[in-house]
């Protein structure tokens, strides 16, 4: 089954593409992805819904080059990610990742955490700082830059993780249950911010979530069951 973006104009560029992707663990004993096909166009927001263990995170990891498929092709911005030499460029410039847990380094400040991707990519400090201030203003973290992570609330931590993911101006944002560790109110605020940033930055969003109300705010919702993708019946 191919769940491709319906191209209303011939100019929509496909940034994420999975073609007949299979992935299993424990030497094939646990099949997680079974012939997944997916396309997401530039600037599109796509929500992946489904129960725990259905393969949402695994698919995100494949697009983020954190894992490799057993078979099939995964391409990001036209480049196959299975090839090792593409991985660094992908992680530094093409893709930003936000996890359910913020995954920030606790002993560093908010500013230092956000600057890590720029250090990895060799972006000069002044340019990086300017970008950080811009993002911090928009995420309401401008007055928290010098604070250590332990001093931040859950929502602030997740907003910091969002800033970090967008620091190098990626074309794609992969979000794995970005509000999953937050209460409803904080989660809603973070998601609103995420959508706002994605829209203004022109980023393609692929988000795994349990929360259907959040998923409905995306351009497309896809259901994942038993390692396969489906269009939701109600969509």
């Amino acid at each position: 089954m191919s769940l491709a973006k319906e191209e209303t104009s011939g100019q929509s560029r496909i940034l994420l593409r999975a073609e007949d992707v299979w992935k299993s663990y424990d030497e094939g004993a646990i099949a997680v992805l079974r012939g997944v096909n997916l396309e997401a166009a530039e600037g599109e927001t796509v929500a992946l819904c489904g129960p725990s263990g259905c393969g949402k995170s695994t698919l995100l990891h494949l697009f983020g080059a954190l894992d490799a498929p057993d078979s099939g092709r995964v391409t990001v911005n036209g480049v196959e990610v299975n090839r090792r030499r593409n991985l660094l460029r992908l992680l530094r410039h093409e893709v930003g990742i936000v996890f359910q847990l913020h995954n920030l380094i606790p002993d560093l400040t908010l500013q230092e955490n956000c600057l890590i991707p720029t250090v990895a990519a060799g972006i000069d400090h002044h340019t990086a700082l300017a970008r950080l201030h811009q993002l911090a203003e928009r995420t309401g973290l401008a007055n928290r830059l010098g604070h250590r992570i332990q001093k931040l609330s859950g929502g602030e931590r997740q907003r910091t993780a969002l800033c970090r993911a967008l620091m190098n101006k990626p074309k794609i944002l992969l979000a794995d249950e970005p509000t999953g560790s937050l209460d409803e109110r904080s989660g809603g605020a973070v998601f609103e911010l995420l959508l706002d940033l994605v829209a203004t930055e022109g980023v393609t969003l692929l988000m795994a979530t349990h929360d259907r109300s959040l998923a409905r705010q995306c351009d497309r919702q896809l259901e994942m069951h038993d390692g396969r993708l489906h269009e939701p019946a109600s969509a």
Binding site: I105, L108, E112
Partner: protein, 370 residues
């Protein structure tokens, strides 16, 4: 800056562990510095004995130790008569023991020897030297540990000797030694008609090469070496130097294991954090650089502390009367450089496995790691 901050933060996160590693390297460096400096000082002292008012030393070819060298008196007489030679002084080395001191170095010398002529006589008159066969002159420290004064009779080895003078020298071996008339020493050590070495003062240093050639031609069983050549080639010195570096090296190896342990623990306890860095685009090289950076900081702090501690220790040792003249606090720059390089190499070697381990961390698995 963030990269450096990551390095410093990681070290500060486990302060005690980092401190123990730094201390391990510091102790190793201090031990190496102290042992090498003391032994080099001792070698310098021994060389100093031989080069006292002389440029060349003649001794028996292929002996492992100068105490076993036998140079016939005929050779001394002939060499002393060569026109290029200003003076040739035979010296016989011997080791004796007294009641409380297992090793006392004896120098059998003539009255014309520079050691007698140039020493500072604290007691006695140098003109009295070698007038009687049982007369001895004691170095200042030897007089101290033998509790001997001028005109005392002291038991040394199997004999009793009359102290006719006490001299002060800057050389630890000489200061702790006993000077005997050459003939007496030859009888005492059953080496009649021989000396251990001849120390040679040339009229011109330019004659050194021709002098050595002439020794080789006239006395095939003897060899003449300039002081620097002797210090470089004397097997005992080589053994001492090798021992010093080996002892210090073992210390550094232990320090290196400490660094390895710290770095391994450091990597194991932040697998998730390394995975985050990977997700943020850190390459293998950047991950390894961070680990090696931490290790280098530990090594360098350890080396600096060790150099400081070693220098202080040497200063303290210099104040110990028993070590007077043996300890030279002057640390040679080359020794310092080698010690720092060895500490750095130790640190890098200690970080090798942790760095490889860190490079092999797969982000997707590590992010599930708790």
């Amino acid at each position: 800056m963030i990269f450096l901050k990551l390095i410093v933060t990681n070290l500060l996160r486990h302060r005690i562990r980092s401190f123990i590693s730094i201390a391990g390297i510091a102790f190793s460096v201090a031990a190496m510095l102290t042992v090498v400096t003391i032994l080099q000082g001792a070698i310098g002292m021994f060389s100093g004995i031989l080069s006292s008012d002389s440029e060349i030393i003649v001794f028996e070819r292929n002996v492992s130790d100068l105490f076993f060298s036998n140079v016939p008196a005929a050779a001394v007489n002939e060499i002393a008569g060569w026109p290029m030679v200003s003076h040739a002084d035979p010296v016989l080395f011997g080791i004796v023991s007294s009641a409380d001191h297992p090793i006392i170095t004896c120098f059998g010398v003539t009255a014309a020897d520079a050691r007698i002529r140039k020493a500072t006589w604290i007691a006695g008159d140098k003109r009295a030297f070698a007038q009687h066969p049982d007369d001895v002159v004691l170095g200042e420290r030897a007089a101290e540990f033998l509790s001997a004064k001028l005109d005392d009779h002291v038991p040394i080895g199997h004999g009793v000797f009359h102290v006719i003078g006490i001299v002060k020298t800057a050389n630890g071996f000489e200061d702790g030694g006993v000077f005997m008339p050459l003939d007496s020493a030859q009888n005492f050590f059953h080496k009649q008609g021989t000396s251990s070495v001849i120390t040679i003062k040339l009229r011109s240093k330019d004659d050194a090469a021709s002098f050595k050639s002439r020794v080789k031609a006239a006395f095939p069983n003897l060899v003449g070496l300039e002081d620097a050549e002797f210090t470089r080639s004397y097997s005992q010195f080589k053994i001492l130097k090798a021992t010093a570096w080996a002892v210090g090296g073992c210390g550094l190896l232990l320090g290196g294991l400490g660094v390895a342990n710290t770095m391994i623990m450091s990597v194991f306890t932040r697998i998730r954090e390394i995975a985050i860095l990977r997700v943020c685009g850190f390459s293998n090289t950047q991950i390894a650089a961070m680990i090696f950076g931490e290790s280098a900081v530990v090594s360098m702090l350890g080396a600096a502390s060790g150099l400081l501690a070693g220098t202080c220790l040497l200063c303290v040792l210099k104040l110990v009367p028993a070590l007077h003249g043996y300890v030279d606090v002057t640390i040679q720059p080359v020794v310092m450089l080698i010690v720092i390089l060895l500490a750095l190499l130790t640190g890098i070697a200690g970080a090798l496995y942790p760095a490889i381990y860190a490079m092999c961390i797969r982000a997707v698995e590590a992010l599930r790691f708790e």
